[in-house]
Amino acid sequence: MSAGVGVDLENLWIRFGDFVAVRDANVHIKGGDFFSFLGPSGCGKTTILRAVSGFLEPSEGNVLIGGNNMKGIGPNKRPTALIFQNLALFPLMKVWENITFSMEIKGASFAERRKRADELLDMIALPGQGDKLPSELSGGQKQRVAIARALCAEPDVLLLDEPLSALDLKLRQHMRTELREIQKRVGITFIYITHDQGEALTMSDNIAVMRDGVIDQIGDGKSIYNDPATPFAASFVGENNVFRGKVKKVIGNEALISTNRSGDLMARISSANHGKMNVGDDAMMFIRPEAFAIAPTGTQGDHFVTAQVTNEEFEGNAFNIFMEGDGGKELKVSLPNLGQSFESHKGEPLTLDYDVRNAVAVPAGELATE
């Protein structure tokens, strides 16, 4: 299989009447990358996928696959294969016929198709199941057949539209690993659409976070999680605590934020916003639940937060403390369960300490609602 064909979106706009589904998207996807578009439903990620696969002509801008402009080239002529959300296996064809449908189109002989089907069935760990009908397979098996069918066409780019969303949790987690392994084995570019940040983080080389047709941030999982560019990226990917306030002082790449309720707190300015945050600007500061530690009650300083504990819960791997928050939502603190004893603080004020490197400041903006 030809590896390493990249995909570029250049100034891509997609409109449906007055509605703008995708607004000026510029993305460079490296060849052989596992690239995810992550965002809530309706953010335009599926629209982008349809533009790459050719089912949709962009209103403006270009889709390049392997450097070639795809304008006016239909889905059947593009070196892409699409895996649909509902898989869209052909119910009346046997599994092996499903898998080799793309070869049938090219006029391959029965023997060739049978042979290739057996190879692919071995690859997806379903040997000898070729003569079944799709309805006789389980959800995870159907999933793998859909992948094999798409790979049979030997595409340069595989497009996946939330293919795991119909599976139950256990299977979904198992399929993540499997998808990632298949991608490494075949070495082609995968473009993956999902609203599940766990899927995006575990599988992807790079992620584009999308909101309302706009790409907020592109980066690998670590940088998206640790160094969010926008309040949306910070609040959509993983759990996060938000503090609202204004920039009081900027020292290098750190800012002192005077928060609405928790006093002045120090935070690191996220790298996308270096030099862009000025004194007096509305700002948001994010600290992950796991980034806090308990400090002696009443300790003052620019990395201590004191608030009333409203609720506590034991989650098994962690002890969660909920406190009166700063951003309208309650503040969540997760203390990992390392066998220590947890002292209840319910109804009492509690002081938390954090490392400034784990607090991220970004210009104020829209938060994720989910």
């Binding site: 892409t80 649909f84 959300q85 052909f90 449908f101 793309s102 066409a153």
Partner: protein
């Protein structure tokens, strides 16, 4: 069987269950099976004046069936070539009408089934409303269109396509158009029903893999729509072979439909046993043909009901 009956009673209660069961039995046995059996009985009896019915001459005979094959005794011919040729022509013409209808209706049903939006409802309504009009009136309306000085001829002659009016009726074009039009809905709706439930993604998936439109239809849409297609074809074939109004009104003077001969035996001839025999032959032939074709295309009886 008894378990499903018990389940049926559990679900509907004894009173309601009995009423439903009684109505279904009355419908199938009282209104369909018994009258047909009585026709079958008629067909094996000689045509006797009322006083002799039940008398010594009233015995079962194959006379009526022989008449269809060999003609009246002493008529001096080996076969009843007139009636037989009408019989075969009716069957062949009904097959032709069915195929023509299928070719016409499949694209319409596909379009209706795969498009979304309100215009589909308007489209379906436009197909249905003409069927509020009586079948005979519709046939006469077609006669007006296809007649010697009808709308179609006026247009064709005035635009210079033809020098003189074309006789659509004598050439059976009006008849085939009438028969085709009469059962169009019975072809469209079963196919539409099936295609509507076909997942659009399957078509897109095939397109994504590079399949041409003909292959998409051949490998995905038509196999999926097979139950609807066979249901539609069966109904259209059965009804066209058994049609009476359209051939009576739109048929040319020389083209008799087999049902017209049956009608003549019952009405003008007053020979019910003879008419019954002809009707039984038509019914059995049509059923046999349908079953044979279903077998050929591997369609199950259960699929037709879908």
């Amino acid at each position: 069987m008894s378990r499903s009956l018990k389940e049926f009673y559990n679900r509907n209660g004894v009173t309601m269950g009995s009423i439903l069961l009684g109505l279904v039995l009355f419908w199938t046995v009282g209104l369909i099976i018994l009258p047909q059996l009585s026709m079958l009985d008629f067909s094996f009896r000689p045509n006797l004046p009322p006083p002799e019915i039940g008398g010594p001459k009233d015995v079962y005979t194959l006379e009526n069936y022989k008449h269809l094959v060999f003609g009246a005794e002493g008529a001096g011919q080996t076969y009843n070539s007139v009636d037989l040729s009408v019989f075969f022509r009716t069957i062949v013409a009904a097959i032709f009408v069915t195929i023509f209808n299928l070719i016409l209706c499949y694209p319409i049903a596909y379009y209706l089934g795969q498009s979304k939006g309100n215009h589909i409802r308007v489209f379906a309504l436009m197909l249905i409303i003409p069927y509020w009009i009586n079948e005979i009136l519709r046939a006469f309306a077609l006669r007006i269109i296809f007649g010697q000085s009808g709308v179609l001829n006026t247009v064709l002659v005035s635009t210079g396509v033809f020098d003189q009016p074309f006789d659509f009726i004598r050439n059976d074009i009006a008849l085939y158009a009438g028969l085709g039009y009469a059962y169009i809905l019975l072809m469209i709706f079963p196919i539409y029903n099936v295609i509507e439930s076909l997942d659009r993604n399957q078509i897109e998936a095939a397109r994504d893999m590079g399949a041409s439109w003909t292959r998409i239809h051949r490998r995905i849409v038509i196999p999926y729509a097979k139950p609807g297609i066979s249901s539609g074809c069966t109904m259209v074939f059965m009804l066209s072979a058994g049609a009476l109004a359209a051939p009576q009104i739109l048929g040319g003077p020389s083209s008799l439909w087999f049902t017209q001969i049956i009608y003549q035996w019952f009405n003008q001839g007053g020979n019910w046993p003879q008419g019954a025999a002809y009707a039984v032959v038509l019914l059995v032939a049509c059923i046999a043909l349908v079953l044979a074709i279903m077998r050929l295309f591997k369609v199950n009886m259960g699929d037709i009901g879908k």
